[in-house]
Symmetry: C2
Subunit: 420 residues, 2 copies
Amino acid sequence: MSATAAQVADGLASTAAACRARLAAATTEEKNAALLALSRRLVEERGRILEANAKDLDAGQASGLSKALMDRLKLDDRRINAMAEGVRQIIALPDPIGAVDSLVRRPNGLQVGRMRIPLGVICIIYESRPNVTVDAGALCLKSGNVPLLKGGKEAFHSNGVLVELMRESLAEVGLPADGIQAVATSDRAVTDELVQLEGKVDLVIPRGGEGLIRHITATATVPVIQHYKGVCHVYVDADADLATASDIAFNAKVQRPGVCNAMETLLIARPVAQTLVPQLFPRFEEAGVRLRGDRAIVELWPSAEPATDEDWGTEYLDLVLSVAVVDDIDAAIAHIGTYGSGHTEAIVTNNYAASQRFMREVNSSCVLVNASTRFNDGFELGLGAEIGISTTKMHAYGPMGLEELTARKFVVFGGGQIRT
Amino acid sequence: MSATAAQVADGLASTAAACRARLAAATTEEKNAALLALSRRLVEERGRILEANAKDLDAGQASGLSKALMDRLKLDDRRINAMAEGVRQIIALPDPIGAVDSLVRRPNGLQVGRMRIPLGVICIIYESRPNVTVDAGALCLKSGNVPLLKGGKEAFHSNGVLVELMRESLAEVGLPADGIQAVATSDRAVTDELVQLEGKVDLVIPRGGEGLIRHITATATVPVIQHYKGVCHVYVDADADLATASDIAFNAKVQRPGVCNAMETLLIARPVAQTLVPQLFPRFEEAGVRLRGDRAIVELWPSAEPATDEDWGTEYLDLVLSVAVVDDIDAAIAHIGTYGSGHTEAIVTNNYAASQRFMREVNSSCVLVNASTRFNDGFELGLGAEIGISTTKMHAYGPMGLEELTARKFVVFGGGQIRT
C-alpha cells in the first residue's frame, strides 16, 4: 500500500517536473492564450461541470455534509461565470516572469540584476470550494509554474472536470497538458509522499484547517507556506476620531465574520472607552454580535460576558467579539504581541506618533492605519488575485499573488570579466 | 536525556524570542553603535580570542584534525583584523529595516506599501571556521534579527569568546545581550529540538555538508534555507571569442577550486572544440588540472581520462574538470538541466540570441554571460556581504545579504475606509 502511494506520488511529480522547463519558457502570449481558452471552456462546457458537481452534491447529501459545506460545494451558472471572469482578470495581470529589477553596474563593469523565474512544481492542498481549483491553476499557469492540485474529496468530481478543462486548454495552444494535474486520490499517503519529493516538488501550499497544515509541515521536506489562523485586532487610540473608529470596528467584525481578516478582538484606549462603548456596542448587539469583555468593559457594559484568557487567542470566525480596555498604545502593542497571530492589525488614530509607532512595531502581515482589517486581501491590496495569505515570514508574508509565486535569479552581463 | 535537550533548546529559543521585538525596533544608530563596539572589542580583546583559539587548536591537534581543517580553525592577528574590518563594512551597508517600497494609491484612496521587517530568531548551524560566527552575528544584528549560533565543536572555545564579545557589545549600547546567543553544546539533540520550535525559531540556515543539511531538513518544522552543492558549468558557444572563453574557463576552474562557485564542467560547442581545446587544455594541465572528457574530448586530447556518467554530477571542489562537447546551445541547456545543481552557470558568446536564450532558460541562482562563475558571491554581486548561498528558490535564491534576512509586511495608510 505504502509502496503504491510512493509510486503514485512519484509518477505525478516526475510528470510535473518534466514540464517545468517548457512552462518556465512559455511566452506571455502562450500563457494568456491558454487562459483565454480556459475561460471560454468554462462557459461552453458548463454542462459537464454541473453534471460532475451534481455527483458531488449527491454524495455530500448522502454523507450528511452540513448546509454550509453543501453551499460552498455547489456550482451554478453564476459561480461558473465568476470563475471564468476570474480567469480573464488573471489574463489582464502583468506576467511577472522574465522581469529584471535592480540592474546595476558594478565597479568592474559587470551589470548585475535579478530576473523573476517560476518556482517550479507547486503542490496545493485545499478543501471543498471548487473555484479554488481554477484560481490556483490559473495563477500557477500565468506565473509559469506547474501545479499539482489536491482538492477535498467532497469536490472530487467537480475538481476532476475543472482540471480536465485546464489540461484541454493547455493542449489547445500547444502547451503540455501535464502542466496541470489533479492529485485524484483520497489516499493521504500519496500527499505525504509528494511533500517529501525534494527536487521534483518545489513548494507545498496547504490551505485548510490548522491540523492539516501542521501535519503537512511535520511531514514535508519540501518547503511549505503556511496560512494559520487570523486573530486580528483593531486598536482604538486615545486620539481616534470615534465615529471613524466605530465604523471601522463594525465593518471589521460584521461585514463578513467568517473570514480570516475579520476582527476578533477590539482594544480600546482607556480615555475613550467610556465614550466609544455606548456608541458602538448597540450597533454590535443589533447585528447579533455577542460581546465578551475584560473587567473594565463589563463594568461599562454589563450585558457583555466576561472574557476568559482563552478568548484573547481565539479566532471565532463568527459574530463573537472580545473587547479589552488598554492603558495606552504600549499596552495595545503588548496585547497584540502576546495574543495575535501575525495576520492583520489596525489602529484608529489621528495622532501622528501613534500611527508611526504602530506601523513600525506591529509586525503582522498587514498593518493598517484608519482602515478596516478586511482590506488584507490580495485583490484589495492590488495584487490582482491571491493564492492564500501567508502568516509565516519566509518567502511571502500576507496575501500571495503572482509575484509571490516566483523567485529571483541573479543575471550578470559581462564583457570577459574574471576574478583576481 | 531527551527531556534535557528539549529544555535547553526551549530555554535558548524562548530567551531569543523575548528579544525579537526590541531588536526589530532598534534604530540604525543603535545597531551600528553595537557593531562599532564589536569591531573595537575584536581588536582590543584579541588576547582573549587567541587564548581561546589556542585551546581549540590544541584539542584539534590531539584529535588529529587534518592540516586543512587546522588552517581553517586558526586565528591570528591578520584574521582578527579582517573580522573587525568585515564588521565595519556591515556598518557601512544601508539598514534594510523599515524601508517601504511599492507604495501605491488604490482606487479607494488607501495607500498600500510593503515595509521590510526582520525575520526574527534565526538558527545558524555551521562548521569550523570561526569568522562565520562574527559575520553571521553582525549580519543578523544589522537586520534586526536574533541569531542562535551553533558552530562546530572544533571551534567551541573560539566561538564562545566571539559570541561573548558580541553580547558585551550589545549590552554596551543598551541593547539586550541575549540578542545573540551561542548554542554551546555538542549534543545534536538540542539542535534537533531547536529546529522544531515553531513560533520561537523563525528560520534555520544550515551551512555545511549535504548530510547535515538533509538531516536538518528532515527534522525541522521551522523553515530551512538550504545550500546544496555547486556543480557549475561554463558553456563556450560556437560564437564565442575563444581568448575570452579560455580566460573565463581557466579562471572559473583554477582561481579557487575549493569553493562552490568554481566550475566543475566545461561544455564546448562542437564547431569550436577543435580550436579551443589545444589553446586551453595546456593551461589547465600546467595548473595541475586533471581532465575528464567525453568521447569527443578524449579523441581531441588523448591525455584526458574518459569521464563516467557520475562525473557529470560531481562537485569536485578540486583541480579536476569534466569536459563535454555539445552540438549546440539546446544540448548545453539540456545537459545543465540534467546534471546541474541550480547554483551558477555561464555562457561565453558574442551571439545575441544565444545570450538571451541562456539567460532566460537556465534557471540557476546566478546566470552569467561572458564572465567567470566565480562572481556568484554576495560581495561581488553588490550585496555587501553574505550569509550563505541558497540553492532552493524559496525566500532567497543565490547569495543572501541583509535584504534576504528580512520579510515584507503590507502597510496600509487609510482615511477611514471600510469594505462594502
